[in-house]
């Protein structure tokens, strides 16, 4: 864990970081407007040395892309095919003959494994419960007790809406940083947000921009100001994270592994979208609770979208019939971007890939989180047709 500086030290440190970061990273500046970007405390992330467990993990630059046209029937993922695709991908990624052995390269029975899903698109466009069930089955086969598995995201109620319920996942903890009580209230009888108890104020992403939230919005953001605190789910509750985003676009780029982690693990994100979207995606995963705990990324591409994302606009939701698997979130995102871009061009949403689409990936590669260069990525394609 990071040493915890005194509040005063934190303030002094943060105040100078914008300039420091700007000086450190001149090569990442893409446009004239970037010079006006708010500073952040990215340097804090580098205070903690990298370890063997740090991103990009065991297989830098390696991505398995497994395709099965039978993985979706009538718009619904098929459990049996999904399990086969996942097993094939795990064997291929690790070179293990046994699926259980493959999983044990990443997790052990002593771990508390957090499955970071994306339930934001509701029942239409969220990580498929079918895929999560397949992951849990294979984790159990690898010796991980159900009691040591947690499905998590920011918003507990969205998890339920997307199908991650206690009834469907008995024995599995289902937890969101932002949560309501059984009466539907975000606050206890004293007016305190329940989510206050699910954040860790020792870990934060500071950025020199802020947004004030009204009474109705605050429960979705937990706090306002210039600090975004990490969820205690990532800092305390889990020891390993398996990241399970869904294959979808955000404008001409994508919101996959890095976005799912960055925006899913911290509070007060509303202020970050406009001025610092790419920076947030690349910088938040540099902090140790994510950098050193995320061991595997599995993009749910059985269903996904190519336009209208990251919200769920059904006319653009399609079966991609695939899973993308790798320990390197940057490489997985780069392959995902390639797939989505091709679909957008095919569907005439754009004429060619946007040069800006890779901005956050180049930035993340600059922070050593993984490989963004297509030429350097080893993509293994498996066709189960």
């Amino acid at each position: 864990m990071a040493s915890t500086p005194s509040p005063r030290r934190r303030f002094l440190k943060s105040a100078g970081l914008g300039t420091a970061a700007a000086m450190l990273l001149p090569h990442m500046r893409g446009t004239a407007d970037d010079t006006k970007k708010p500073g952040t405390n990215i340097e804090d992330a580098f205070d903690i040395p990298r370890s063997e467990a740090s991103m990009p993990g065991r297989y830098p630059g390696r991505v398995v892309d497994v395709f099965d046209p039978a993985s979706v029937a009538d718009g619904v993922p098929v459990a049996e095919r999904c399990g086969i695709m996942l097993a094939e991908a795990m064997r291929s990624l690790t070179g293990s003959a046994s699926v259980a052995e493959a999983w044990r390269q990443f997790v052990s029975p002593d771990d508390v494994v957090g499955l970071k899903v994306n339930p934001v698109g509701g029942a239409l466009l969220s990580t498929s419960p079918v895929l999560v069930e397949a992951i849990i089955t294979q984790l159990e086969d690898a010796g991980i007790p159900r009691a040591n598995i947690m499905i998590w995201d920011r918003r507990e109620f969205q998890l339920h809406e997307a199908g991650f319920t206690a009834e469907r996942f008995p024995g599995i903890t289902i937890r969101g940083t932002e949560c309501k009580d059984s009466q539907g209230s975000f606050r206890d009888e004293t007016g305190r947000l329940y989510s206050e108890d699910r954040i860790d104020r020792d870990w934060y992403y500071w950025a020199d921009c802020e947004e004030s939230y009204d009474e109705e919005t605050l429960p979705y953001m937990v706090n306002d100001g210039k600090y975004s605190y990490f969820s205690s789910i990532v800092t305390k509750d889990v020891t390993k994270i398996i990241n399970i985003p869904i294959l979808k676009n955000a404008g001409s780029t994508v919101t996959l592994c890095l976005k799912n982690l960055a925006y899913g693990a911290i509070t007060n994100t509303g202020r970050l979208h406009r001025p610092l979207w790419a920076d947030t995606c690349a910088q938040v995963p540099c902090f140790a609770p994510l950098r050193d705990k995320v061991v595997l990324n599995i993009v749910d591409g059985m269903m996904g979208c190519y336009h209208g994302g990251p919200g769920a606009n059904p006319q653009f939701i399609i079966p991609y019939h695939r899973l993308l698997v790798g320990s390197d979130p940057v490489a997985v995102d780069r392959i995902g971007l390639d797939i989505v871009e091709k679909k957008r061009v095919e569907m005439k949403m754009q004429e060619k890939p946007s040069p800006r689409a890779t901005g956050f990936l180049d930035m993340a590669a600059g922070y050593q989180l993984g490989v963004a260069d297509m030429e350097s990525i080893q993509r293994t394609s498996i066709d189960l047709s």
């Binding site: 446009t31 004239a32 407007d33 009538d74 718009g75 934001v120 029942a123 239409l124 947004e211 939230y213 009204d214 109705e216 919005t217 429960p219 979705y220 953001m221 955000a250 404008g251 001409s252 780029t253 919101t255 976005k259 925006y263 994100t269 509303g270 979208h273 406009r274 336009h307 209208g308 994302g309 990251p310 919200g311 606009n313 059904p314 006319q315 653009f316 939701i317 569907m347 005439k348 949403m349 754009q350 004429e351 060619k352 946007s354 040069p355 800006r356 689409a357």
Partner: protein
């Protein structure tokens, strides 16, 4: 009591007006209609997360979300109240995609099995049937038709050029892009041209096929300086009231005034330029 009754009535009417149009029981007899959840501009992050930015860029007031159900059949009705018909059209024009069929005779509408989407007045309405049963699809159409009728009001009217002028062949493909996010979603090839310009209105259409494929645009900026920058990037810094070549980007450009320019590129550009005075 007599004094308070009119006041109460006024309050009720005001509340109803601010709630905006909603699906009501008589729209779908036999269906259960949920009370609406309302989300303001700031709450939109709670409802659609990262997707919120695009709506905010255009100017957004609130969204109401209702769930309609009958047995296993379900519909989702989202009604986005934007700041203007232009804003509602703008979002619709991005989300329309390759639309197979209009709905209910509304100009800015699209009917698909998986969604009915239309812009009417300042409202953008999305009706999504959650299953493919005919019962659900029929109910979706009924709810959408009721809302289309209930909303009324002024629809977005494109410029005369696109309405009945030389650019009318591009009317059905017209997009209204009102900021960087809209551009990234719908027209990333223009990213570099408008880079760093936060406030602009771009009316853009691509139409025709093969050798007649043509791109037409009306560009409006808030300042003369921004328009100077765009024309410079097009390679037409000296463009005036006559059409001139955009040497860096290809095509033809004409500066209508300090903050407005017309742009044409492709097979019909020369011909159209002669007709666009």
């Amino acid at each position: 009591m007599k004094i308070f009754t009119p006041l109460l009535l006024l309050l009720v009417l005001h509340a109803s007006a601010s709630a905006g149009p909603l699906v009501i029981g008589s729209d779908l007899p036999g269906w259960k209609i949920s009370d609406p959840d309302f989300y303001s501009a700031k709450e939109l992050y709670g409802y659609i997360n990262g997707g919120a930015e695009l709506y905010l860029e255009y100017g957004f007031r609130q969204v109401s979300a209702q769930r309609c159900s009958r047995g296993d059949h379900e519909l989702q009705v989202d009604i986005y109240q934007m700041v203007s018909p232009e804003a509602a059209f703008g979002i619709w024009s991005i989300l329309r995609g390759d639309c197979p069929e209009q709905f209910g005779g509304a100009d800015w509408s699209c009917l698909r099995p998986e969604q009915i989407l239309f812009a009417r007045g300042p409202y953008l309405v999305s009706v999504v049937p959650y299953d493919r049963a005919k019962t659900t699809r029929d109910a979706a159409e009924k709810a959408a038709a009721a809302l289309l009728k209930r909303i009324g009001g002024r629809d977005f009217r494109p410029s005369e050029l696109f309405r009945s002028g030389p650019l009318s062949p591009g009317r059905n493909a017209l997009q209204f892009l009102h900021g960087p996010l809209a551009l990234q979603n719908a027209l990333p090839s223009w990213d570099d041209l408008l880079d760093g310009i936060q406030r602009f209105d771009l009316y853009h259409s691509a139409f025709g096929t093969g050798s007649r494929k043509t791109e037409a645009a009306i560009i409006e900026t808030k300042t003369k300086r921004d328009m100077d920058r765009i024309l410079g990037r097009l390679g037409a810094a000296d463009a005036g009231r006559e059409w001139s070549k955009a040497s860096k980007h290809g095509g033809l450009v004409k500066r209508k005034n300090a903050k407005t320019a017309w742009y044409l590129k492709g097979g019909q550009a020369e011909d159209l330029s002669r007709r666009m005075k």
